[in-house]
């Protein structure tokens, strides 16, 4: 048994590693795939008094981007979103997550504003419905 054990285990390991090469360890699965987006009804960031409703967005594809002015990685992602907004027609909805209105607006003024609508999720309840792992994240 000892004779073939090392080579046998090694072959199993090699197969596993080969399979592993095809998998991206950084992908994060979402339980929501093939399901309707969770509904939300949140105030709009830039125009107080207005409301962003998921009902109004239903039926058309849109990209929901979760961000916050406190989030360093969002800053890095931002140029991609800016370019995306210039080059594509797709509706881009921002979900401003656990942020303060003033700082969020200042952040947008500084780095640019690619969003068609921005919903304010100050409590983070909608983010929980979406199953957000961390910002930035898009759906």
């Amino acid at each position: 048994m000892m004779r073939y054990l090392p080579i046998g285990l090694f072959l199993a390991l090699a197969v596993l590693l080969f399979l592993g090469l095809g998998i991206d360890p950084k992908t994060v699965p979402s339980p929501l795939i093939d399901k309707p987006a969770p509904s939300f009804e949140l105030p709009e960031l830039r125009e107080p008094g207005q409301v962003v409703r998921s009902e109004a967005l239903r039926g058309k594809p849109y990209l929901l981007n979760v961000w916050g002015s406190w989030c360093v990685a969002c800053q890095q992602e931002h140029p991609v979103l800016m370019q995306f907004a210039r080059e594509h027609d797709l509706t881009l909805v921002g979900l401003n997550w656990k942020d303060e209105r003033e700082t969020a607006l200042r952040w947008l003024a500084r780095f640019g504003d690619p969003y068609d609508q921005i919903a304010v999720d100050a409590e983070g309840g909608t983010a929980i419905d979406f199953g957000v792992y961390g910002a930035p994240e898009s759906f």
Binding site: I7, L17, F18, L21, I23, P25, K26
Partner: protein
């Protein structure tokens, strides 16, 4: 021009490695002495060419030749010279070059020192080393060329990863690689022995110092990495069970088993298969570590430049080298299988237990490291395995090692009486237990810390007791302790120091996260950390906020600490912790984020008792291995090679 020369040097090195592997191997098979004799000049020239190539890349960095893509990606005009040099191995391509250079250093050393080995055996060893180099150079030239041009040249480069802009990181990779790659020597010896189907006992003695050197470098390299993570990452931790840390730890565990089982082969001609297998595995796991880091199959803080194409190449290489050697192992199995001739209580049995424990521990780490990959491939979802698994399982695996370690040196070969040693060690145990109880009740420490003191003193005092008895024994006193013996005892003592450090630190460290404004202070264990002021300054390639802290005990000033938050050019933000080191405690301050528009800062303050003992223990182990490697007895054996070979050829079992 210069980078092209470096490129040519790499190609030349590849050709020389092919010469070094093909001709000696075929020559050894056909008995062609001339072909065999090519090994040495090929290896030495190959080393010189690799050195040239390495120096040329270094030159490109120092001269800031941003027409070389690798230089442009990893340095810029503002980078200090020291870091421009260490940037040579700061990313993927250059670190491969360092790897290959290290291998040629070891190969050239074997070539120069190996005169006394039987010519055919020596030729095979050199051929195997050459083959490894062929694979590595091919990998580098095909997928990761460090001399690739980027034309037109950039005016300025990007930056070296700021995490790596640190003195500790200048020597961490070279030391680690010396260890990883050093195991290639034992590997080549094992493969050569497997090819010949017989083992010459002289080579065990011959290869032992090489293995000890490699193990010492690896130990030192791992300790450096841990120390660096402690002060540079700013979280006060010293080991994170990160896949790449594990990748360096697995060869260490197997290497530890290897240096122990080598002595059994030498003294008792037992555990030959074990030793061959450990020789193969120690190096194969080093290659696996390279695969895990470079291919991106696992997420890790070290996984810079992950790339599936490179992954496929390294995997093929790993399969050829490790798979080939293991296939050879099972093919030649019966040539080396011997009837076990073991007394249950004897030195060799003790070493076997040690080997089993080290190998199981390695299997445990391997399983934990690869489980996320397995789960992902099998569709069980995303799983991460971290400290809770390793932290709970690993000490359990090591418990028997710690318990039995003091018995080891006392045990006689061929058979011994456990009761005899038990009587020697009973006082040691009692004193250790008393110390543990003092720690528990006089210092009011947690049980875990007391347990660590018990285990650590048990090892340390066990070593001391051994030395005391050795000196009392008139027959042994005359010869004195040999260097190999002293080295072993030092390394064991290092283990004791390490165990105390780990348990006491883990059990008693205090961490406080506080919001501090300049002028405010925080108290930990009777020490008050006063946040005096914050200063802003500009470094060569970063801007920093530096906090000024004074630590006071009552009215006495204990330390001044200046932690920093740095913003580097590429946008990374780094935390530079400030540490006041001490034998019994470290004081550690790290700046978090500015709060309320910079009026206050989130500050992490730690009091970490005995954490230095962790690295002190590792240094003792390193030092012990160096001392043992320098034993004259091992050198003398190589010089006596003219005697008729004491060859054993096991009868098929």
């Amino acid at each position: 021009m210069m980078p092209e020369l470096g490129q040519v040097a790499l190609l030349l090195a590849l050709l020389l490695s092919i010469v070094q592997s093909y001709f000696p191997m075929v020559g050894a098979h056909t008995g062609n002495r001339r072909w065999m004799a090519l090994a040495k000049p090929a290896a030495v020239t190959q080393f010189l060419v690799m050195l040239l190539s390495f120096l040329l890349l270094t030159y490109a960095f120092v001269q800031q030749d941003f027409s070389v893509a690798y230089v442009a990606q990893n340095s810029n005009l503002d980078l200090p010279v020291m870091y421009r040099i260490s940037a040579v191995w700061g990313a993927h391509e250059g670190s491969l070059l360092l790897w290959a250079l290290t291998l040629s250093v070891w190969t050239a050393l074997v070539a120069v020192k190996g005169n006394h080995l039987p010519p055919a055996f020596f030729a095979r060893v050199m051929a195997v080393l050459g083959l490894i180099n062929v694979g590595f150079l091919l990998f580098m030239i095909v997928t990761s060329n460090p001399f690739m041009r980027h034309l037109p040249a950039l005016a300025d480069g990007a930056d070296l990863n700021p995490l790596l802009q640190d003195p500790g990181l200048i020597i961490h990779p070279p030391m680690l690689y010396m260890g990883y790659v050093g195991f290639s020597v034992a590997f080549a010896f094992a493969v050569a022995a497997l090819i010949e189907g017989r083992i010459d006992l002289a080579w065990i003695k011959w290869v032992r110092p090489w293995t000890l050197w490699a193990w010492a470098f690896l130990t030192f390299g791992i300790a450096l990495g841990s120390w660096w993570a402690y002060y540079e990452l700013g979280w006060g931790g010293w080991w994170f069970w990160d896949p790449v840390e594990n990748a360096s730890f697995m060869p260490w565990l197997i290497g530890t088993a290897l240096i122990h089982s080598q002595s059994v082969v030498e003294k008792r001609q037992q555990l030959i298969l074990w030793t061959l297998l450990m020789s193969i595995l120690a190096f194969s796991l080093s290659l696996l570590g390279t695969f895990l880091v470079r291919s991106g199959v696992l997420t890790s803080v070290h996984a810079f430049a992950s790339d599936p194409e490179r992954g496929v190449f390294i995997l093929a290489f790993l399969a050829a080298i490790a798979g080939g050697a293991l296939a050879l192992f099972s093919w030649r199995f019966n040539h080396f299988a011997r009837r076990a001739d073991f007394q249950p209580v004897s030195r060799e049995a003790g070493l076997l237990v040690n080997n089993l424990a080290m190998t199981s521990a390695c299997a445990l780490v391997l399983l934990g490291t690869l489980f996320p990959l397995l789960a992902d491939a099998a569709g069980w979802g995303k799983v991460s395995v971290g400290s809770p698994y390793f932290g709970a399982m690993f000490p359990l695996m090591m418990a028997p090692v710690v318990l039995l370690l003091p018995f080891g040196p006392f045990l006689k070969w061929r058979g011994d009486d456990a009761g005899r040693i038990g009587r020697f060690l009973l006082p040691v145990f009692i004193i250790s237990a008393v110390l543990a109880l003092i720690v528990k009740f006089a210092f009011d420490a947690p049980w875990k810390a007391a347990l660590g003191v018990l285990a650590g003193s048990w090892i340390l005092l066990g070593v001391a007791e051994y030395v005391r008895r050795f000196r009392q024994d008139p027959s042994r006193r005359i010869r004195g302790l040999g260097r190999e013996h002293i080295g072993m005892l030092l390394a064991h003592a290092g283990m004791g120091v390490f165990v105390i450090g780990v348990f006491v630190t883990e059990a008693t460290s205090i961490e406080k996260d506080v919001r501090l404004e300049p002028g405010q202070s925080v108290e930990i264990r009777g020490l008050s950390f006063v946040f005096e002021k914050l200063e802003h300054y500009e470094g060569p390639n970063f801007v920093a906020d530096q906090g000024h802290f004074v630590v006071r005990k009552g009215d006495v000033e204990v330390a001044r600490l200046n932690p920093e938050k740095r913003g580097y050019r590429r946008g990374e933000v780094m935390t530079e912790a400030a540490i006041d080191p001490g034998l019994t405690r470290d004081l550690y301050v790290a700046l978090g984020e500015p709060l309320d528009d910079g009026q206050a800062w989130a500050v992490r303050v730690y009091h970490k008792p005995f954490i230095r003992w962790i690295w002190l223990g590792a240094l003792l182990m390193t030092f012990g291995a160096f001392v043992a490697a320098a034993d004259q007895r091992l050198r003398a054996s190589a010089a006596r090679r003219d005697e008729p070979a004491d060859a054993t050829q096991g009868a098929p079992a």
